[in-house]
Symmetry: C2
């Protein structure tokens, strides 16, 4: 098993993995991203995200995709793990753990004191897996979002600033 | 009322606001950040975060601090609003809304289709405020985190990669 940083040549596989993860998360049509989006956002001079690929005998088995966030309490960056996925036929080999450990290594290497991610509340196998590796729920916190039309309305509601 | 991007001169006020927000969130001793941290992470050539200051009659009334994230489904960046705070003596003037609208404008200006943040589940005034502006809970998702010693253990558990 090899864990390695993704290169531009991996983009088609990364997009395929993103789609497979969305299908697993019961939202297979949710992926609007294109290869051009991943190239532009992830492989330019200041990438918005970073990707690790897991390979077994030369085949792509899974991936982890993360970006940096910032904690105003800690005064330093942390890592937000956006996607972690192992293809079904490669499960049970410890690949998910190896990917997560590698992201933790990236966190330490970048001076980050925190690694966090969001988990679906019905995904008990994932929750068990993460808790077994020392992760804890942030119990008091919930996620809110404004998207698309609601976002445009909110921006328009601000009017001029001065 | 003025909403404007923060400059290096605002760093002492930003740190003061971060501490006031932590106190409101019932964790007043949680702030380890220093002025040097904010300078290094937020005001260098590739800043990890961005800050908007709200002023009323020349006095700092509140702030919003955000950074960019990345959605693998959308294939583009979004904004994560890390902190939004209005000092108690300036509440009821619409400053919080104006700050949030300005962050929404920054999202649109940067091609982002999403703006999101985390809210404390007991902070009903904040939840009501956000829902009134079109925000929705991501009901299925929960936040997990590995910090400090647990993060170091996780990184160490990976061993060598190949």
């Amino acid at each position: 098993m090899i864990i390695r940083p993704a290169t531009i040549e991996d983009i088609p596989q990364i997009l395929a993995l993103i789609r497979e993860l969305a299908a697993y998360e019961r939202d297979p049509l949710a992926v609007e991203a294109t290869e051009a989006d991943l190239l532009r956002e992830g492989f330019g001079p200041s990438p918005r995200f970073f990707t690790l690929m897991a390979e077994v005998s030369g085949e792509v088995a899974g991936f982890a995709l993360y970006f940096f966030n910032f904690s105003t309490w800690k005064g330093r960056s942390g890592i937000h793990l956006e996607d972690l996925f192992v293809r079904p036929q490669f499960r049970g080999l410890g690949i998910g753990k190896k990917l997560l450990c590698s992201v933790a290594e990236a966190a330490l290497a970048n001076g980050c004191g925190r690694l966090q991610w969001d988990v679906l509340d019905w995904n008990q196998p994932a929750i068990d897996f993460y808790e077994g590796l020392g992760a804890k729920f942030l119990n008091e916190w919930r996620i809110m979002r404004v998207s698309d039309e609601a976002l445009a309305s909110l921006a328009a509601a601000g009017g001029s600033h001065e």
